[in-house]
């Protein structure tokens, strides 16, 4: 009993450290790629590590109320919870996860929990930019959640399971990635990913020049540190989920990093050559082709 608890605790710690370092490195590479596309040299790939240490070493003398302090913590809780539920490697030896029947449905809930907590925290700061950012973020979430949930429901119908590990086992048994056996769900999920990562053209929440970084505009120092680290953990968790569901998971760490990096480059490279959408354009985009592909995926799952 005690050994099992220790096993899970250490697994959680190790997977958190892994997710943090890989996620932050990916974000640094994102800055580098953006810089190279803009014909700049760009910061070194470890720039985000330096930024995180600096943000942590800053003092924070801001007080707007309890919810304002709790907002970033909600984000962190949501990220860590989704990380612990998503299996990192195929056999789950080194990174034990809290998998259970129905975790795919639970994941849909818990992935929206963090942004909602952050929305409450941003609301209490009383900054008008935060309020506008929150409304924009919730509108965008209403946009991309529809193709995303449609893709997941299609997978659930097609394979008659709501467990991520079961879906991974199916891919291992048949030797076919779900990317090929349910392509429409894959397309819908990838298109929903653009909204999840909030890079251009869907960076309507942050929008630095327009909204002064939106919901986080009153947060500096350690709050920003929490948000940045939770963002990197969440990015890694989401990418791992995509690799698990559609690319057959990974047997070892280099394979996982390679697969997640390829997936990560899709929104990044789409973003660097695009300007920003307005809110209604973004929502209309998500309710257009991505939802159509999601519907096709459900039809394919039910009738074929």
């Amino acid at each position: 009993m005690m050994e099992e608890i220790l096993h899970y605790t250490w697994g959680a710690v190790v997977s958190f450290v892994l997710a943090f370092s890989v996620g932050i490195t990916f974000m640094g590479l994102n800055r580098k790629v953006t810089a190279r596309v803009q014909n700049r040299i760009g910061p070194p790939w470890y720039q985000n590590f330096i930024d995180v240490v600096k943000l942590y070493s800053k003092k924070s003398a801001i007080h707007h109320g309890t919810m304002h302090h709790l907002g970033p913590a909600f984000l962190m809780v949501s990220s860590v919870m989704s990380l612990l539920i998503i299996p990192i490697l195929n056999d789950g030896k080194f990174f034990p996860n809290l998998n259970f029947q129905g975790d795919l449905i639970f994941l849909i809930y818990i992935m929206t929990f963090g942004p909602l907590g952050m929305a409450l925290g941003a609301g209490q700061t009383g900054n008008p930019n935060s309020a506008i950012g929150v409304t924009r973020g919730l509108a965008q979430m209403a946009g991309f959640e529809i193709p995303w949930v449609m893709a997941l429901v299609a997978l659930m119908i097609q394979y008659k399971t709501t467990s991520i590990v079961d879906l991974m086992n199916i891919q291992a048994e048949t030797g076919r990635w779900l990317m090929f056996s349910s392509p429409f769900a894959f397309i819908a999920a990838i298109m929903a990913m653009f909204g999840m990562f909030r890079y251009a053209p869907f960076d309507i929440v942050g929008a630095p020049a327009e909204l002064a970084s939106g919901p986080m505009s009153e947060n500096g120092g350690k709050y920003l540190f929490t948000m940045m680290s939770s963002g990197s953990v969440f990015a890694f968790a989401k990418l791992t989920l995509y690799a698990d569901l559609f690319l057959g998971g990974a047997d070892n760490l280099p394979e996982l990093v390679a697969k997640t990096f390829v997936l990560y480059m899709i929104p990044v490279l789409y973003g660097v050559v695009n300007p920003r959408y307005r809110t209604e354009q973004a929502v209309r985009w998500f309710w257009g082709w991505p939802s159509f592909f999601g519907l096709l995926a459900i039809l394919q799952a039910s009738f074929f």
Partner: protein
């Protein structure tokens, strides 16, 4: 948390390294100097390779870049912005106007020496300073941070009465929230 001197020294070295290589700049661009900021940040001079990056709000910023002259009206806003920033924070005075008034030396409604109102860590002179000079100024600030000498905010806290008296001299209607750390 850490009490003994050796580990404090190690922590200081790491923190100073991080602060030096990650300067988030809030450019207060009401003066004409703001036109030199875009070329500094974009592909020609690319300040991001030094870790210098724009910040959206005062809460997130480390460096307050005051580009050019300050009228008495904008000085009030600058003071407010500076007091909203989180420690450690630095001020760069940009252009001749912040040093001695520059071409506005006999103007009735601009301040002449920024140092009387806010603690300035680094001055960049010139009218206008070119992007090379701006990068030079950032390099100088990085040197000061590494040596632990960029302590403008500490000076401001210690000499708050003096700064306040100077500020209230030029701002007749003083309706501002108290400076609370």
């Amino acid at each position: 948390m850490i009490n003994d001197k050796v580990s404090q020294k190690i922590v200081d070295i790491i923190q100073n390294y991080a602060r030096k290589h990650s300067l988030w700049v809030l450019a207060y661009g009401t003066g004409c100097g703001a036109i030199e900021i875009p070329p500094t940040m974009t592909s020609r001079y690319d300040a991001e390779r030094l870790g210098v990056r724009g910040a959206a709000t005062p809460r997130q910023a480390d460096v307050l870049l005051i580009t050019g002259y300050l009228t008495t009206k904008t000085l009030k806003r600058v003071i407010r912005v500076y007091e909203q920033m989180q420690d450690p924070k630095y001020v760069i005075g940009f252009g001749s106007c912040t040093i001695n008034g520059g071409m506005y030396f006999d103007s009735y409604n601009t301040i002449k020496a920024l140092d009387r109102y806010l603690p300035v860590d680094v001055y960049i002179n010139g009218c206008m300073p070119r992007p090379e000079a701006v990068l030079e100024g950032f390099a100088k600030l990085q040197e000061l941070i590494q040596a632990g000498k960029a302590d403008g905010s500490k000076k401001y806290k210690e000499n708050l009465e003096w700064y306040r008296a100077n500020q209230k001299e030029v701002i007749p209607v003083w309706r501002m929230p108290e400076f609370n750390w």
